[in-house]
Amino acid sequence: MNPSLPFFVLATLSVFSALMVVLSRKPVHSVLYLIFCFFTIGGHYLLLNAQFLFAVHIIVYAGAIMVLFLFTLMFINMNKELEPHKTNLLKVAATVAAGCLLLVMVGVTKGAEKLAAHSTRSDVGTVANLGKALYGQYLLPFELISILLLAAMVGAVLLGKKSVE
């Protein structure tokens, strides 16, 4: 087996599911395609030896975030095709713009070959390693993330709470 084959398969799936997220008419389909897409991305993490990240990714994204999305979707009862779509002109414009961006982004992100040869370390993505980094070098941002989550929490409460008028 060509060792690079998994990459291409996963990549194709990723791109396909991402496109479907955008193109699906029904919001729920979009959500499901997105979940699928996240799984493919998780696959890339595995390919890249980032096992811890893979786990976190699945838990956080597929497990929490997407559930939240689905929940909201259900909550506002949007399972049907009630989304008003943009006019065709706008769609064409959006596609053209995004296409241009795509070309440009791909065009301007070249040059990785100029980097020095890649590292042979394979233990980067382990829990132990990342744990050391998180509680060592990155302690301060890690702690501050808690402030961030706190802020988000307070914010969500503030917005969600029924106002006492």
């Binding site: 941002p141 501050l144 402030i147 307070v154 008028e165």
Partner: protein
């Protein structure tokens, strides 16, 4: 570092105020805490300390900006009392404001891109909520939504940029990135995507400072958000964004100045012109101030474009002058919001009802317009000086032209205030607003008469 900790803890404490029932002393507590934070910041002057594996570096630059942020927040507190006391969610609001300030302080002091990102997000997420915090007001909701959507969209670009930079340098540490870029630049093997990364980071930041063509959110959000929050956004948040912008670009991408400065110069020019021209037509003072803040962002960008040894001071001076004067203007605007009419025309009768206010108001307007002897002039002067020093005469010329447009609409505030109101008694101010206008104008004047105090901090 103490400053940061105090503010963060203050935020957490504020959050608990409701639960622990010390709401009544919350505001005094915050003021005391902020003063303490300010004291620590001032005490750390010249100490140049780095903390937690070089995650933050409190050098004079960040201390000066932190102090400025705290001072402006304190000024802001003068008119925010009513906002807090009228809201049932006082504790949450206070906590969020303090979290914003925490993020802002981080943004002045980061020395690692991860810190930068975290600071930026703490600030942004709290702000999304604050912008939408007037729940019953649809315009506030809309503002929150717009801000949030566009903000996270811009964050995406910023992160992509950060990723690309990381891809080359394998580090998030500013100093290491700088040296790595410098090495690869001299060796001539910089991957193309580093430049892309710089541009994308620039785009993300240009969005945050509301530079054209990424400014579209600003007028809508400024208008929709509660006035008091707009005041905070236009001053504290803007200052923090610029502090971060300059810090990042001067430390990390200094060697690439020749690459990004031209694009940024054009953007600065467009921003100044767009902001000022669009402000001309506005009927609502709040929206006018939003556009004017866009224009001011253009001037501050000039300092970053110039990127020479006085630029840091120039950004600081400008941010200070602009924040203080704006805060005064927002005091006026808050009174308009209270009265329920934000159009400039509703200011009629102001000078009659509030004897002497016109003097202070004029001082503020002169400062905003950049006319001696107010602080705004020295700030502009310094910006121009830097730009000309770096050879940007054309940009200075554009700046000059657009500040003339600025005069055109700023002075309308004075004209209208001078007119008598034919129907009704006209506009009045409450005590807090009054005193903030006086304080802001006096500070503006003091900074104008003794510009040396700020201009020579050598940040």
């Amino acid at each position: 570092m103490n400053t940061l900790i105090i503010i963060a803890l203050l935020g957490v404490a504020a959050m608990m105020a409701d639960a622990l029932r010390f709401k009544k002393i919350l505001l005094p507590l915050i003021v005391a805490g902020l003063l303490a934070a300010l004291g620590f910041a001032v005490a750390a002057w010249n100490s140049n300390l780095s903390y937690y594996h070089e995650m933050v570096l409190f050098n004079n630059y960040s201390l000066a900006f932190s102090s400025l942020l705290i001072v402006v927040t304190l000024l802001w507190m003068i008119i925010s009392k009513k906002y807090f006391s009228s809201s049932s969610n006082m504790a949450e609001h206070a906590a969020l404001v303090l979290f914003v300030l925490t993020g802002a302080v981080i943004m002045t002091a980061f020395s690692d891109l991860s810190m930068f990102f975290v600071g930026l997000e703490i600030l942004s997420i709290s702000l999304y909520v604050l912008a939408a915090s007037n729940k019953s007001e649809l315009r506030s909701n809309e503002a929150g939504m717009k801000y949030f959507l566009m903000g996270s969209f811009a964050t995406g670009f910023l992160l992509f940029g950060i990723a690309l930079i990381y891809g080359t340098t394998a580090t998030f540490n500013l100093a290491k990135i700088a040296s790595s870029i410098s090495i690869s630049e001299t060796a001539g093997n910089t991957p193309m995507f580093v430049y892309t990364g710089v541009i994308l980071i620039m785009v993300g930041l240009l969005f945050k400072v509301s530079a054209a063509p990424f400014h579209f959110w600003a007028p809508d959000v400024y208008e929709g958000a509660p006035t008091i929050i707009t005041a905070f956004m236009a001053t504290v948040v803007k200052t923090a964004a610029f502090a971060a912008f300059y810090r990042l670009f001067s430390t990390c991408f200094h060697d690439l100045t020749g690459f990004w400065s031209h694009a940024m110069a054009v953007i600065a020019a467009i921003t100044m012109l767009a902001g000022n021209i669009l402000a001309v037509y506005q009927k609502s003072l709040k929206r006018m101030m939003a556009y004017s803040s866009i224009a001011h962002a253009g001037y501050m960008l000039m300092a970053i474009v110039a990127m020479n040894k006085i630029s840091a001071n120039a950004v600081f001076m400008y941010a200070a002058a602009y924040s203080v004067a704006s805060m005064g203007m927002f005091a006026l605007m808050q009174s308009m919001t209270d009265a329920g009419d934000e159009s400039v025309d509703s200011l009629k009768g102001l000078s009659k009802n509030n004897k002497g206010v016109i003097v202070f108001l004029s001082a503020l307007v002169l400062s905003m317009a950049g006319i001696p002897p107010m602080a705004g002039f020295f700030a502009k002067y310094y910006i121009f000086l830097g730009a000309i020093q770096s050879g940007y005469q054309w940009l200075t010329l554009v700046a000059v032209l657009s500040s003339l447009i600025g005069v055109y609409y700023y002075f309308r505030v004075i004209f209208v205030s001078l007119q008598d109101n034919t129907e009704g008694s006209g506009h009045t101010l409450n005590k807090g607003q009054w005193s903030l206008i006086i304080i802001a104008s006096l500070i503006s004047l003091a900074m104008g008469v003794l510009p040396g105090l700020l201009l020579t901090l050598s940040l």
